[in-house]
């Protein structure tokens, strides 16, 4: 069976209040579902790897094939938990190690 290639995305969340992990993932899944439907969302293999509530950094994992879909969906997020927010992609990488190296650079 062919191995599924993945990409890790480092995200920065800009919002007025504190956003919980659940609220963030609800917003991300909501955006993907709104744009691509439930079938499209199921192809993304989206999962949260790490989330720092205080620094507002998150790392998510998606399948390489759906990277553009997820990027477009993340860009379309304008609110999280009824608060104005923006989710910005800081870096994209094939491994978590390389992702953190990119962030440090």
């Amino acid at each position: 069976m062919k191995r599924v290639k993945r990409r890790y995305l480092a995200l920065q969340i800009e919002s007025d209040g504190i956003i919980s992990q659940k609220e963030l993932m609800d917003a991300v899944w909501g955006a993907v579902t709104k744009l691509y439907g439930e079938c499209g969302a199921s192809l993304t293999s989206l999962s949260l790897i790490d989330y720092d509530v205080e620094k507002r950094y998150a790392v998510i994992r998606v399948s390489l094939a759906s990277l553009n879909m997820v990027r477009a969906s993340l860009a379309s997020i304008i609110s999280v938990a009824n608060r104005d927010a923006a989710v910005r992609v800081l870096a994209v990488s094939g491994t978590i190690k390389a992702l953190f190296e990119k962030l440090k650079a």
Partner: protein, 244 residues
Amino acid sequence: MKRAFADLHLRINLKDPAATLRVINKAATLGYSLVAVPFSPETHADETLQLRTACSEAGVDFVARVDIRPRTQNELLHQLRKLRRKFQVICVYCENKEVARQAAKDHRVDLLNFPLLDFRGRFFDRAEAELASSSRAAMEIDVKPLLVLEGPARTRLLSSLRREAAIAREFHVPIVVSSGVSVETLLRKPRDMAALAFLFGLDEASALETVSKNPVAIVKRNREKLSSGFVAPGIRVIKEGDDC
């Protein structure tokens, strides 16, 4: 070489200097090296000076742009004669077919913008694209409606944009993706803007060009045209005097 990104449509409220500064600084932080702000046609050149200073302090290149909404072909021609040498970018809001056709074939028009919510008022068809390709006018798409609309309205908008983007590519009409936002929370990174361009069927390279190569080329071309030494495309005065 590092790619230069541009946002040709920052709708800043010029009466609120604090908000203006916030938006410009945010654009600089997000990675834009060039921003254009629309002014009213009555604006004098010195009124743009304050904004130019703010942009240079933030480290972004500033471009003065004018948006015109003519109702007739003659009104469009009159405004173009009056404004072409005053602004670096001219955008025409095509609210009827007569204006859309004239704007597409006029070399003085840089950007064609169409009503985003009136789907019957979007006149970017094959005839329009053919005219635009010969005059080098670009089609501008604001991403703000893509962010704020939901449900059937967004679906219809995406459907129109996908059709028009395909026509534009067929006729080699450049597409410029701009933010069209007035608040910093709705500003997106250039690569995120390009990601939104995937939604209307552009591939990765073309999507990146809509926020970099295409808008930068328009500004570069117009700056050259507005410079004192410009004679004709490709010809400019490099030295003047008796010893030439």
